[in-house]
């Protein structure tokens, strides 16, 4: 809450790098996303874009450098913890819960805002103390959860109320994404475009501050892409988010992103506004090959300016 109010970045990467064996998949990656930002991450195939997402969301731990979510350093934290801090994502290859209904997909993400015995604030405070207190915080957190299971098994009225609220919130999200009519349909039966929208609805269920979209327009036709552009802008307003998009569709990226970072072979080769990036020499070479500028003098002129 406070991070956004101060204009501090909600998501920050400082020289984050990751190596797999000898392969330097991501090198010295820097990023800052604040509330209201709409940024893009582009690069040729294999440039490390999804790897960057994986580092930011905790799937991989950076071998050097740091990642901060809402001011907290999250290196080595498990993805679900990082998600709870306010970072949500979609996947390049759709990863819905295929056998679950659309509603259930979103409901999983909207985990009950239960009133635990030990509140999240108290636990966070304990964890910040470090050492034995942090360890105790984990124990108390576990107690929270066992207590919550008992409430579920005994059908405690508080629990039932929370389930209702959760369902209501999920239904609202489905409506925002235009999927209310698919509420009870199994996710695997949905058409492709709706599946992509469902993934976004699901990510929104986790109440994120920052949303990472991994190729949200993949496989869409022109009309759907145009709708998506409008949708992404609307989501930013409606949910007070910062958004980072990986995309291959240049029109979409240049169309909605205010700042673009370009990766190639794990390195950042350009950062800036769409106009600046479009004319950047290194970017053109990365996408179109070194010889392009020689054979297309007008583009070289453009780049020189």
């Amino acid at each position: 809450m406070s991070a956004a109010a101060n204009g501090e970045p909600l998501l920050q990467a400082k020289d984050a790098s990751i190596e797999f064996g000898g392969l330097k998949a991501l090198q010295r990656f820097n990023l800052e996303i604040r509330q209201g930002d709409l940024q893009g991450l582009i690069g040729p195939n294999g440039a490390g874009k999804t790897t960057a997402f994986n580092v930011l969301t905790g799937v991989y731990e950076p071998t050097s450098g740091d990642v901060f979510v809402c001011g907290q350093r999250v290196n080595g934290k498990k993805p679900h913890r990082i998600n709870r801090l306010g970072l949500a994502r979609t996947f390049q290859n759709i990863r819905l819960f295929r056998a679950l209904t659309a509603l259930d997909n979103v409901r999983v993400a909207c985990l009950s805002e239960s009133r635990p015995v030990f509140s999240a604030e108290r636990l966070a405070a304990l964890r910040r103390e470090g050492g034995a207190w942090a360890w105790m915080a984990n124990g108390l957190d576990a107690w929270n959860n066992y207590y919550d299971w008992w409430r579920a098994l005994l059908l405690a009225p508080g629990f039932l109320r929370e389930e209702e609220e959760l369902t209501r919130r999920a239904e609202q999200l489905l409506e925002v994404m235009g999927l209310s009519h698919r509420r009870d349909e199994e996710a695997r039966n949905l058409p492709y475009g709706e599946q992509r929208r469902l993934e976004i609805a699901r990510a929104l269920g986790t109440r994120p501050r920052v949303l990472l979209l991994d190729e949200p327009a993949a496989g869409m036709n022109t009309r759907e892409k145009a709708d998506l552009m409008v949708l992404i802008r609307r989501l930013r307003e409606q949910f007070s988010l910062g958004i980072l998009v990986i995309e291959h569709d240049m029109k979409l990226v240049m169309g909605i992103c205010e700042q673009i970072t370009v990766l190639d072979h794990g390195e950042t080769i350009a950062v800036g506004t769409p106009e600046k990036v479009r004319a950047d020499r290194k970017v053109i070479e990365a996408y179109l090959g070194d010889s392009y500028l020689e054979t297309h003098p007008e583009a070289a002129q453009e780049a020189a300016r």
Binding site: H80, V108, A109, T167
Partner: protein, 353 residues
């Protein structure tokens, strides 16, 4: 499959806090009445008890293998922990009774204490086994759970205090149909309530796509451990019940063969379906018993009945193969009988009340 846990549309007959435990109270009454009013030949009681125990085992394993999509094949190990724990405690209390109540009631009370202890012991082992191994990939988890079952067996075999290889005898045979089927009811109720809650949905999500579940804020390891603990608790209770209607328990009753029997029940019934687990447990318990009885009745050769029993195991193996090739979702898939019941039965409604 997983509908809202919102209560049925019937007007509130009960205060809100009682809604959870009411079915249990009703079941207690119904079962006690049935027990008191029925005679039942010893054979019938034995068969019904075995069926009940297998139902508990199958439904509890279904929570881990079905709902959570993990692969635990050492369920009998937890059964063993429960059986020996409950057995030893019952032996300790063998000569005590509660004053002022009929002996039967006192027996059931001590039995209950033993069962709870057995279940808790098994749950503890479930936690100890689950915590490290649920970080591992599916096939490795299978091996570890298998190993756990075998290690328990070896430990018991080498422990004189637990009867070693000859077995533990003398456990008061206080099990009744009432107690067995009460616990079947509780297990099924717990399984159903989990499935219909947000916790259950998280388990299903883990089964569908663990990476995505983790990314959506589900603490996958913790959830997997919890499902494991709950499942082993009931396996322990099943073992405890077993110890109280079988005169001697020895480690071979809880070996890999038993674990595989339960796995076959869950897979054949449908991974994820509580109904399927029950149907398969009943069928796969009654069928061999029926065959054995038939052989004993119609032929004079006692060895034939034994052969029929032996052939059960390779047939289970082949059954698994055929199932995986032809119908991997088993009998019921993930469907439940209460999803298709007529509307006049109180059931969970879709959507918000």
């Amino acid at each position: 499959m997983v509908e809202s846990a919102a209560p049925a549309a019937t007007p509130a007959l009960l205060p809100a806090w009682a809604r959870g435990v009411t079915p249990v109270v009703i079941a207690l009454g119904a079962l006690a009445f049935a027990q008191w009013s029925s005679g039942g030949s010893p054979f019938f009681v034995y068969i019904a008890s075995v069926v009940g125990v297998n139902c508990i085992l199958a439904v509890s394993l279904n929570i881990v293998n079905g709902m959570t999509g993990q692969f635990s094949i050492g369920h009998a190990g937890f059964m063993a922990v429960g059986a020996y724990t409950a057995g030893k405690i019952s032996l300790a209390f063998a000569d005590t009774a509660v004053a002022g109540v009929p002996v039967v009631a006192s027996d059931q009370l001590f039995l209950l204490i033993s069962l709870l202890a057995g279940g808790t012991g098994a749950a503890l082992f479930g936690f100890l086994v689950g915590l490290p191994s649920l970080r591992l990939r599916g096939d490795y988890l299978a091996i570890v759970t298998l190993g756990f079952g075998e290690i328990i067996r070896v430990i018991v075999q080498n422990t004189p205090a637990l009867g070693a290889a000859l077995g533990l005898s003398g456990i008061p045979q206080t099990s009744t149909l009432f107690m067995v089927w009460f616990w079947v009811f509780v297990t099924v109720l717990v399984a159903r309530r989990i499935a219909h809650s947000s916790h259950g949905r998280s388990l299903w999500a883990i089964r569908e796509d663990e990476v995505a579940a983790e990314a959506m804020g589900v603490d996958t390891t913790a959830y997997k451990v919890r499902s494991f603990v709950i499942s082993s608790f009931f396996a322990g209770v099943a073992g405890g019940l077993f110890a109280h209607f079988i005169p001697i328990i020895n480690p071979n009753s809880f070996g890999f063969v038993k674990s595989m029997e339960v796995v076959v029940m869950v897979v054949a019934g449908g991974l994820g379906s509580t109904t399927g687990a029950i149907v398969a447990a009943v069928a796969l318990t009654l069928l061999p018993e029926g065959l054995r009885t038939a052989f004993n009745a119609f032929s004079s050769d006692p060895a034939l009945a034994q052969k029929a029993d032996q052939i059960r195991m390779p047939i289970y193996g082949l059954l698994l193969v055929v199932l995986m090739l032809a119908r991997p979702q088993g009998l019921f898939g993930t469907r439940e009988v209460w999803d298709v019941l007529p509307r006049w039965l109180p059931r969970r409604r879709k959507g918000v009340a």
